[in-house]
Amino acid sequence: MKAKIYITFKPGVLDPQGKAVQHALASLGFNEVQDARIGKFIELKLNGVERAKAEADVKQMCEKLLANTVIESYRYELE
C-alpha cells in the first residue's frame, strides 16, 4: 500500500518561497497567477497493514513528525 502525503502551509502563514515563485511566473507573463504556495509531497510504502490501521498510523506520523501543525496542515491518500 502507498500513502501519499501532502503538507502545505496553513492559510495566513506567509510562504516567502511561494511569493518568489509567483513573482517569477508573473515576470514570465503568467499574470493570472494570484498566489503560489509551496508544500511537500511525501510518499510512503507501507507493508503488511490493514487499511484502517494504515489510516490511523499515517495520521499519527503526520501529527508527530511529518508536519509541524503550528504552521502546516496535511492530507493524505492511501492507495
Binding site: V13, L14, P16, Q17, A20, L65, L66, N68, V70, I71
Partner: protein, 218 residues
C-alpha cells in the same frame, strides 16, 4: 556549576559553547552525545547551534526524537535550565518546550552577520546581568530564524515578559514582532537565534554575549 552540552550529528557550535563555559566562565562542562539515554547530573543544558541531521524535513524536526531529548524534556519541565542557541532554539520549538516555529527567512537567504539586539526583559535567569533595555551586538548565522506563532501566543509571550531579545532596528529574517529569543512559561528555558557563544571573549572583538552565560551562573 556544571553544564551539559548536547552534541547531535551536525552540531557545530558545541565546542564554542564548551570554550565559553570552561575557559571564560571557569565552570565545568560535559559533552552529551545525542544517543545517550541518560542525562548526567548537570545544572544547565545547552542545545548548541549547527545543522542537526542536515536540517532534513524541518530544522530540528529529527533531532527532537534523539534519545537524549527524552531526558531533556523532563529535565526542563522540572525546572532545569535549558539554553537553546540557533539550531538549539529550533530543536526546542520542535520538541514543544517552546511555542511557535522558526520558518525560512523572509528573504529566503542564509544570513550571517552581526545584528543589533535589544534586551527586552532583563529580569530573567538568562539576562539578569544586562542593564534594563540594553542594546547589544550579537552575530547571527541562519536560514530559518523567522519566528512565527499565532497572534494569541505572541500576545501571551509579550504579556508575560517571555520575549528576552528583540532585533533592534533591522529585522534580519522577518520574525514576528522582531523576536530573537523567547522563554517558556516558567522562565527556565530560553531559545535564541543569535549566537552569544561567538562573542564572549575579548580576543573575538566582541563580548556582548558573555552576560547570557554569566546570568546563568548560580
Amino acid at each position: 556549576m556544571k553544564f551539559g552540552i548536547l552534541v547531535f550529528p551536525g552540531s557545530n557550535c558545541d565546542w564554542d559553547s564548551y570554550n565559553v563555559v570552561t575557559k571564560v566562565l571557569k565552570q565545568k562542562a560535559q559533552f552529551v552525545w545525542h544517543k545517550e539515554s541518560k542525562l548526567p547530573k548537570v545544572d544547565c543544558v545547552i542545545v548548541p547551534g549547527g545543522f542537526s541531521y542536515g536540517d532534513h524535513l524541518r530544522t530540528g524536526a529529527i533531532a527532537r526524537f534523539s534519545p537524549i531529548m527524552k531526558e531533556v524534556v523532563p529535565f526542563a519541565k522540572a525546572g532545569g535550565r535549558v539554553l537553546g542557541i540557533c539550531n538549539g532554539f529550533q530543536i526546542l520549538t520542535e520538541s514543544g518546550l517552546l511555542p511557535g516555529v522558526l520558518m525560512r527567512n523572509r528573504d529566503l537567504k542564509f544570513v550571517c552577520e552581526t545584528v543589533s539586539l535589544k534586551v527586552a526583559n532583563h529580569r530573567t535567569a538568562f539576562t539578569k546581568k544586562y542593564e534594563r533595555g540594553a542594546r547589544i551586538r550579537i552575530p547571527i548565522a541562519h536560514g530559518e530564524g523567522n519566528y512565527f506563532a499565532d497572534e494569541e501566543t505572541l500576545n501571551r509571550l509579550e504579556g508575560e515578559g517571555r520575549v528576552a531579545f528583540r532585533y533592534d532596528g533591522v529585522n534580519p529574517n522577518g520574525s514576528q514582532r522582531d523576536i530573537a529569543g523567547i522563554m517558556n512559561e516558567n522562565g527556565n528555558v530560553l531559545g535564541m537565534m543569535p549566537h552569544p557563544e561567538r562573542c564572549s571573549e575579548k580576543i573575538l572583538g566582541n563580548e556582548d554575549g558573555r552576560k547570557v552565560f554569566e546570568s546563568l551562573i548560580m
